[in-house]
Structure formats: C-alpha cells, structure tokens
Symmetry: D2
C-alpha cells in the first residue's frame, strides 16, 4: 500500500462482514450440531458436551489475549492497552460455562475435567500461536467474529433454551456475553481503525478471522461426533459428565 | 498405577505400533494425496506444494523440541538432555526441503515464502502447545511416529521418485532423514523407558502420537485440496511456486 | 501456618511499612544521589540521567506485570484480573519520563536511546524473573513499595523542582503518578488480603519488597556514579543527552 | 561498520582478554572472598555457602542457554545449533556442586534448598534477560569468560583444596569443568567468528562479558557478607547447611 493512501475502514468492515455471512451460512446449514439444535432435537448430553469444550477454550482466552499485550514488537500503545484491558475482562468467563452445565443436572464436574477434544486443543493452540507470533494485530480477526457472533448464533441459543426448557439463569454464559459483547465489538472496530497502518495488517486480521472460525467449526463437528459415540455407548471421555445428580 | 508395579514397556511399544498400523493404514488407503502418489499420478506441483508445507512445519521442530527442554517441571535430567540434543540435531533440516523443491525446477522461492496452509499452522501450533503445557513427556508421542514413519511412507517416496524420475540428490529431505532416523527411533524408545514413571505418562504419549498424526493427515488432505485449486487455476497462494526456472 | 489460623493482615502491613521506613531511611541518608538532591545541588544533567534510567525500567512494568497474569499456576481469579488491569494502566507511562527530560532542554532523544545502565537492567531483569517464576504473588511486594513511595520521595521531588525551577508541567512523571498511586496502593492492599492464603505468600511478598527496593537503590547509586563520569568528561553513554536544544 | 570491512577477530579476542585481565585482577585483589581464600583462611562454611550459590545459578545455565536457541530472530543456523548443543552439555552440572557440598560433611541438603541470595538471583535473572532479549549473540560474552575462567580461578581452587584438605573427588564441580572447558572455549571463539557480522554484535558480546562478570563479582561479595552473618550467629538462611553429619 502506498503510505499516502488512506485505508478505507468502512469498506474493510463490509468485507469482513460479508466473509462472516458466508462462513456462518455454511456452518449453520451444514454442521450436524447446528442442524440438530435448529430442528429442536438437542439433548442435555449434546449441550453439556458442547459447553464443556466451550469451557476449555474460553479458559485460555484471557491468557492468549494478554500474550499479545506483552510482545515487544507493538508500537501502538492503545493496542497494547486494549489487549490487556480486554484480557482482564475475559478473566473467569469460563466459570459461567461450568455453572450452566451444572445447572442442567450434570454434577460430576468437581474433580479433574476430561482433556479437551483434539479439535478444541487445536483451536486453543492456534489462538496461542497467532498471539505469540506473526502480525501482532492478527488476533483482532478472532475478536471481530467472537464479539459479533450473536447475530448468527442467537437462533441456536433460543432453540436450546426452548428445547431443553431452560431458564435464563441456566444460560449465563451466552446471556452475559451477548449483553457485553455489543460494546466490545465497537471497541474492536475502533482499535482496528486506530492501529492498522497497512494492507498487510488488514490481510492478517481477515486471515485469522477466517481460520479461527473454521477451526471453531471443526470443534463443533468434533463435539457432534463425540456425542454420537456417547449415544452408542462408546464415548468414554464424558462418562462422569453423564452421571446426573 | 501402583508405584510398585513395573511398567511393561515392551507391551506399551506394541500398543503404540499397533495404533500406528491402524492410523497409517487408514491414511494410506483414504488420503487423496497418498492414493494419487501410489497410483503413479503425482505431479511436480503436488509434490512441490507438499514439500513447501513440510518445510514450514519442519522449520519449527527444533524450536518446539527445545521448548520442552527449558520447562521447569521436568525431573528427569536424561530427558532434558535428550530434548536439547534432539533439538540441536533438527536445526536446519527444513533447508533440505527447500533444496528439493528447487531441484525439480521451482526456483521462485527466494523472497518471502507464502504463509503455511491453515492445517499446517494448526499442526505447528499444536506441537508448540503440547511442548509448553501438559505432561512434559507427551511430545515423545510425536517423536515416536515421526522417527518410525519410513516403514509406512517409503512406498510413497519410491513412487514419487519413480513417477517424477528424481535422482537421490533431489530427495535429500527424505533420504537424509530415513538414514538417521533408525538411530533416533531407538533413542526415543530408550528415553521413554528411562523417563516414564506412571500410566499417566504413557497415556499422554499415546494420546499425542494419535493427535499429532491425525493433524498431519489433515495437512496432507489440505495439500491435496490446495493442489486441486491450483489445477483449476484458482489457487493464488502458490502462484510464484508454479513459475518454473 | 495452620490453615485454620486467620492471617492478620493489619499486622502484616505494619511489618511491611516498618521495613519500608527502615529501607528508605537508609537510602535517603546514605545515597549520594539523594544527598545531592536534598542539599539543593541537583543539576539538569543528574536529573536527566536519572529520568532516562527511570524511563527504561518503567517501559517494562506493564509487560512484566502482565506476565504474572498469564501464568497458569494462579488460582485466584481476582488476582489475575488485578494483574491485567494494573498492567493496562501502566501502559505508556514511560513516555512521561521522556517528556520531562525534553522539557528541561535535552532534545537529543529522538534516535535510539542508550542502553540502560547495568544496574537498571539488573532491576528490569529481576522484575521479569520474579514475575515469571517463584510465588506468583511475590510481585505484589514491588507494587507495595512502588505505589506508596511518595511519602518518602516527595522531599526529593520538591527539592528537584525548587533547585531546577521547574513548572508542574515539567514533572509529569512524578505528579501524574503521585495522583493515581494513592488509589493503587489501596488496590494492592485489598488484593493482598484477598489472595494471600499462607505465611509463604506473605514471606514472598516481603522478600520481593526488600530485594526490589534494594536493587532500585543500586540503580540510584549507579546513576550518580555515571553522573560523576559525565562531570569528569569520561561518560560516553549520555553524550547525546547532554546536547541541549 | 562498513559491510565490506572484514572483522578482525584476533584483535577482538585480544580486546576481550585484556578486558578480562583487568576485571579479574580487580576481583582477585579486592574481593573479600578471594582474599580470604588466597590467604589460606577459607572455612568449610564459607566454601559451602559459595557452592550453594554456585549450585543455584548453574542450575539455570542450560535453560537460559537453550532460550537463546529458540528465539526466532537468529539467522545463523550454526549459532542455533551451538546454543542447543551447549545447553545439552550443561544439563545437570549443578548436581556436582551439591555433591561437593555433601562430601565435606554438610548433609542437611535433602529438602527444599534456601532461596538464593538476592545477588545470585540478580545474576540468574540477568542471564535470562540477556538470553530472551537484545542482540541474540550477546550471551556469548558470558560464555567467553565462563569457559576461560580457570586461568584466573585456579589459584583459588588450589588454595581451597589445600586449606580444607580436599581430595579431587570432593571438587568434582571445578575439576570436571576445567577439563571440559578448554574445548568449550575454542567452540565459543569459533562460533563468534562464524556468527558475528557487525560491530554491534561485537559490542554486545563485550558488554555482556563485562556486566555478567561484574554481577558474578557482586555475588561473591554477597556470599562473603552472608558468611560474616553466619559467623556472628545472625545468618538464618543457611542454618540447616551448617548442621554437619
């Protein structure tokens, strides 16, 4: 990019939004997990497995976000501040996921939790990877979709709530997040506008938006496969989870 | 495990070998990349893309191996020594991959290389992840299959050599590795016997053997998909690679 | 400590305060830098050298504070949150030090700054060290004295201001900090009360309070020694600094 | 440096050697520890305290050396290999220090060792610091003096051996090191010649040679001060050490 050319951020955000529309449309229409939920066939076991994997990757989000903030190759002070403040806000959110699992009757979560699924670990590992290496701004691609996903996943949440007849107090993870994320999404856009200086920055953000959402979709597929194993009595990983109170 | 029970390592290695037989059989019979190679239909482009991704993940192996050696939660001095020595031996091996790509006529590799495929980065990220966290011995599961893979991949190498009519001097990456890896494999087995003290250690090794090989298989699939894009004229990532000298 | 014994934090804070009284009394009475300042003999050169070293260690404070927050051996969520929030607040404070140096006529600071003095690097290195290893709470010992030091250093600041005839706008580093640090000091005491569970925690905090203040005192001594070299025309490190606008 | 100017390494090594002569002469003539040893007045307690601090910093040498090898800003493959190989060789050397302490009758070393002295931690912290940041070649300044120190410290070792009437088997730390370090010193010089490309590289090496030796000298002084506390019955840190078998 010619340094004298100003970046058109409105156009960039439209490009990201259009990319997200395309990726989410594919996920919602082809993921077995999403189709099961939307057709009103979700079970507590499926939801419980999903929330446990959600617990796992969420429990690393503050840490990998803060990891960006301690890199020594960032010149933008507002971006460093954003990373550390955003990380501080994410601390402990994973506990809401555990609370919600317990609230539907799965009480056997007190000891060591089962290791995350390979696909969940691959997502976690990738978020650390794009945080400690590469373009320091690229993790904003993950934040961009994570803070704006409710537009796409609200039908899933509503369907879960209706099928499993859950009170709002049993859905704290999703409800608390959707309340605060509207604000967060504006922060993400503001910091992108303030910190990005080149097409390479924009490309890195768009790339990580795509890859981190694709790896999340793979996690959803793996949750469903594991659920099928549990249904067939072959899933040993979540035995303890399936003991109801 | 009762601490007085001795671990039966012969049985453990048989279990790993049997797991590997099963995983490799599935890869060789169902991976489009493997099937294309074994049926004598490999092209320089397909091989070149594969070797470029191989370059990428190999260029991190010394580093993530050494990362295990600097952890402060390892009590076994021989294992720390093994990690650092093994890392030292891996330094620079990725350069053989670049040499081999150039030797078949793709010369356009001098500038910045294209970013690895998402699946390659997921593998790289995972190898860092299992190196800096979790059971410190678990990376031995990756070494176990990586140092013994020639039994399974030699037919692929031979087929590539025959189809593309390559000299041994154009296959330095594979030939150099298969020569030294027989020794390495014995080192891996020795250090497992010396350092593992519990079933949890064995389980962690077996788990990472499985996951890291599965993520490698996904990289192979992604290489093939990207190759198909290139065939259809849609793959922009490797444009420069496909300019022959 | 018997786990049923409650920790008496009031007594602990009194112990820390008494330790600080003792350490600061020694510093203020025996440090050549402090004595020079208090006797009204500070020069712009001495103050400039001091502020440059202050710039250096301050520029790492957000980073080493955040490093505590990404450790995976902390159970107290409020402490993790404290570390990240506190780190976020520290971002960029070092720029005030540079501003203050420029404001007294030293303009030659635009290029690469000189490497910190060995004693400054030793302090910086130590703050990273106690952040990434040992008792995760121990860095609070540094925060305890750093957030409460104005009681002791105000006479120094006033003497500098009077001797060099500085406006408040030329002392932004000290004035901005003393305004916000009263609040910070209460946060530090609150998080100590909330997170410490054992005598080992208290001991680690007291130990790092002592060591980090002693290493800071060594930095002050080194600043004065370097100033003497400059006076004798032998200090090559700060040549560029001593070119006035 | 003009890139076309070849670096004169012989001259550089002479400069380092002359710097070392000067630094060691000062240490040997003014350090209370060295003077006590050379005048035949060393005691088992003084030697024991010294060896315990030696144990502490030595136990980090493999790790901080390997840390250089995993940086991603090094272009010289031989240097990466050197770092990892050298680190592998250092693994476990600290155990010889413990062996030697036990061999003179101090048996109370089985539980948790006392925390290192502040000056020892400052040295350890500094070695990590110069390993993970700054010029990646600078740690060679530490290796340069550490691998060539026997020329200067042999009189100390001989005096300790004579005064305390020790067998060679009670001085394994020093004897094993002096045997292997002659070779190591040649490796250090070779890798400097192979990897340094600019005056900035040479300056960084010379700087760290000086600072790391000065911080070691401060550790020696702190050992002697702590010994005096023990003599006066005030040193609580090493109580357990002073219980003879």
């Amino acid at each position: 990019m010619n340094p004298s050319t100003e970046i058109n951020f409105e156009k960039f955000f439209q490009k990201l939004d259009s990319k997200l529309d395309q990726l989410w449309t594919k996920i919602l229409s082809s993921s077995p997990l999403a189709k099961t939920v939307l057709s009103g066939e979700v079970t507590k076991e499926l939801y419980g497995i999903y929330m446990l994997e959600t617990y796992h990757y969420t429990s690393h989000n503050a840490r990998n976000q803060a990891l960006v903030g301690i890199r020594n190759d960032i010149e933008s002070l507002p971006y460093i501040k954003f990373c550390l403040e955003h990380a501080a806000e994410e601390v402990g959110h994973e506990r809401m996921a555990l609370h919600d699992i317990r609230s539907i009757g799965f009480e056997g979560l007190d000891g060591a939790l089962p290791r995350p699924l390979m696909e969940t670990e691959a997502l976690i590992a990738y978020l650390y990877w794009i945080s400690f290496t590469g373009n320091p701004l690229q993790r904003l691609g993950y934040s961009y979709w994570a803070e704006s996903c409710y537009k796409y996943i609200n039908p899933l949440i509503q369907s879960i709530q209706k099928t499993l007849q859950l009170e709002p107090s049993q859905l704290t993870f999703f409800i608390a997040h959707s309340d605060i994320d509207a604000d967060h999404f504006e922060h993400v856009k503001t910091i992108i506008q303030r910190s990005c200086k080149s097409e390479a920055d924009l490309d890195a953000i768009e790339y990580v938006l795509t890859t981190s959402l694709k790896l999340t979709a793979r996690m959803l597929d793996a949750v469903y496969e594991e659920y099928q194993e549990v249904q067939l009595g072959r899933g040993r990983r979540y035995d303890f989870l399936c003991k109801k109170a």
